[in-house]
């Protein structure tokens, strides 16, 4: 997406049923949405399902969408956060493995790939141990670089609450990663 004007033009065309505009919006946001969802749920397949559903709901709700302070991207994230919550309401199973089906890129060094996977797994485990609001704030604020205002709109909280929550979420994440790190080092026989 080059600028906001072109995005609003795309949205207008998409509302009129223009397939190319709908495809362009999908292509512009599918990666970001999938990235968010894949850090919030247990498996690749579930993340794919939810991502697909986000865009189907986008399509169905497009006529009602109006930019009233909530950008189009933030609106999509709002749909995604609702679907993730819906998923957990219906499926309370714990963390299984989010990495089993992760795509392996052939142009990445295999060692880097393993390191990336370890990092990803560690982050996901730590994130999943946090309350849902903390997870959303950390992913949306720092992984997706959304503003306080956007996160506040998505999570239906005040900006002040988001500012305060992000510190608590970071603290909790630090504690989780610390404990994960200790556990891993113990398992490897490197206990100090």
């Amino acid at each position: 997406m080059d600028n906001l004007t072109s995005e609003s033009q795309l949205i207008a065309k998409a509302k009129a049923g223009d397939k190319e505009a709908i495809t362009a919006l999908y292509k512009a946001y599918n990666e970001a949405i999938f990235h968010y969802v894949s850090y919030r749920v247990d498996s690749q397949m579930v993340a794919e399902d939810i991502t697909a559903e986000v865009f189907l709901r986008m399509l169905r709700g497009l006529q009602q969408y109006e930019d009233r302070g909530l950008s189009f991207g933030a609106w999509l994230f709002k749909i995604a956060t609702n679907l993730v919550r819906e998923h957990y309401r219906h499926n309370r199973a714990g963390y299984v493995s989010a990495l089993t089906e992760n795509e392996r890129s052939s142009d990445i060094d295999p060692f880097d790939q393993v390191a990336q996977q370890e990092e990803q797994e560690q982050l996901i485990r730590a994130l999943h141990a946090l309350p849902p609001d903390y997870q959303d704030i950390l992913i949306l604020r720092f992984m997706k670089n959304l503003s306080h205002a956007e996160v506040a709109a998505i999570l239906e909280k005040s900006e002040t609450a988001v500012r305060s929550l992000q510190h608590r979420a970071l603290k909790a994440l630090g504690e989780q990663l610390g404990s994960v790190g200790k556990q891993r080092s113990y398992l490897r026989g490197n206990r100090p």
């Binding site: 065309k13 509302k15 009129a16 049923g17 223009d18 397939k19 709908i22 495809t23 999908y26 292509k27 599918n30 990666e31 999938f34 990235h35 894949s38 850090y39 690749q44 397949m45 579930v46 993340a47 794919e48 399902d49 991502t51 697909a52 865009f55 189907l56 399509l59 169905r60 497009l62 006529q63 992760n102 795509e103 990336q116 996977q117 990092e119 990803q120 982050l123 950390l138 992913i139 604020r141 720092f142 992984m143 670089n145 500012r163 992000q166 510190h167 970071l170 603290k171 994440l173 630090g174 990663l177």
Partner: protein, 340 residues
């Protein structure tokens, strides 16, 4: 983020989050979702881009007024038809179909369903003009959320041409979603039954594609035979197609790779993947036993999906068995297997 005062430890965590490995949709799944969305666009109530004959964009107000006018006309027509119905005997299904079929009637069109007739008479706004469903003036406008499942036409016939996801039966071109696995199972010369909706003159978008004769009366629309290639957490692969069998099915519990099966079921889109959800399964021969000479492996070359998506493990052909339908053949061969 600059306005926040983060401690060095927080900054370190933020950096770690920002550099977290990015997870991406595989190209195949990305494409499948895109197609799913576009299929919904085709079938949805989204209005077509409104333009006048000069190609100039019409304002929303003009569009709404136009819709309202169309609505009034259609309501008038419906009232007139209803009045005529009360005076005359009910119209035949074929006559009802005339209103939705394109001008060139394909020779292989056999019927419309009674469901269609009921639908078109009770909710004319749905079938007569997709534009009407978005109009705020219509009290019968359904919520735009569910995917419409009403098929306007059924075609049965022999596939005369097949090019990627477009096939021809009679004069009708039938468009199937590009990565629908049924494309792996059909070929020129096969008899097909298609339920779909007209998207243009003489072009039908397939909602249901069946390669089973008499599928109209059965629970299953798709049948295939072949050996089990993989088994993975309850999902088995036959002819490169993922098949799911009810875990309570006793036959399904004792399957192993190499078993030659005959399955019938329906393709269901689960998230971004099509799975053949099996309603009937039969083991023709167990792994290691010879398969009937009536069954053969047909090379199909590079599969369309494999070529475009670079997918691994895609079937390059499929198993076929001459003669009977899948389940009938299964029963016959089961007897042969026991004899050996």
């Amino acid at each position: 983020m600059n306005s926040d005062d983060f401690t060095p430890m927080e900054q370190e965590l933020i950096k770690r989050l920002q550099n977290a490995p990015q997870r991406r949709l595989t190209p195949r799944v990305e494409q499948a979702i895109q197609e799913k969305i576009l299929a919904e666009v085709l079938q949805s109530r989204l209005p077509a881009p409104p333009t006048n004959s000069a190609g100039v964009a019409i304002t929303p107000m003009q569009f709404i007024l136009g819709l309202a006018a169309v609505c009034v006309v259609v309501v008038g027509v419906v009232v007139a038809i209803e009045g005529q119905r009360q005076q005359n005997p009910p119209i035949s299904p074929a006559a009802s179909m005339e209103t939705t079929a394109p001008t060139t009637e394909p020779p292989s069109i056999v019927t419309t369903t009674s469901e269609l007739i009921e639908t078109s008479s009770s909710t004319p706004s749905i079938t007569s003009s997709p534009l009407l469903t978005d109009t705020p003036t219509s009290t019968h406008t359904p919520a735009p959320t569910p995917t419409p499942t009403v098929s306007s036409v059924i075609i049965e016939g022999v596939i005369e041409e097949l090019s990627e996801n477009i096939l021809k039966i009679g004069d009708t071109e039938i468009v199937i979603l590009a990565h629908h696995p049924v494309l792996e199972l059909i070929d020129v010369g096969d008899v097909l039954r298609v339920e779909g909706t007209w998207i243009a003159d003489g072009i039908l978008l397939a909602d249901v594609v069946s390669n089973l004769p008499g599928a109209a009366d059965a629970d299953a629309t798709v049948g295939m035979v072949g050996p089990i290639e993989f088994i993975d957490e309850g999902i088995i692969t036959i002819n490169g197609i993922e098949v799911i069998i009810d875990p309570r099915d006793l036959v399904g519990q004792s399957l192993s790779i190499g078993d030659f099966l005959s399955v019938e079921g329906n393709f269901k889109l689960q998230g971004a993947r099509y799975l053949l959800v099996v309603s009937a399964v039969e083991v023709i021969t167990k792994a290691g036993m010879s398969v009937s000479p009536d069954c053969y492996y047909e090379e199909t070359g590079m599969s369309a999906m494999g070529m475009s998506m670079g997918m691994e493990g895609m079937a390059m052909g499929r198993w076929r068995c001459n003669g009977m339908g899948a389940m009938g053949m299964g029963m016959g061969m089961g007897g042969m297997g026991m004899g050996n």
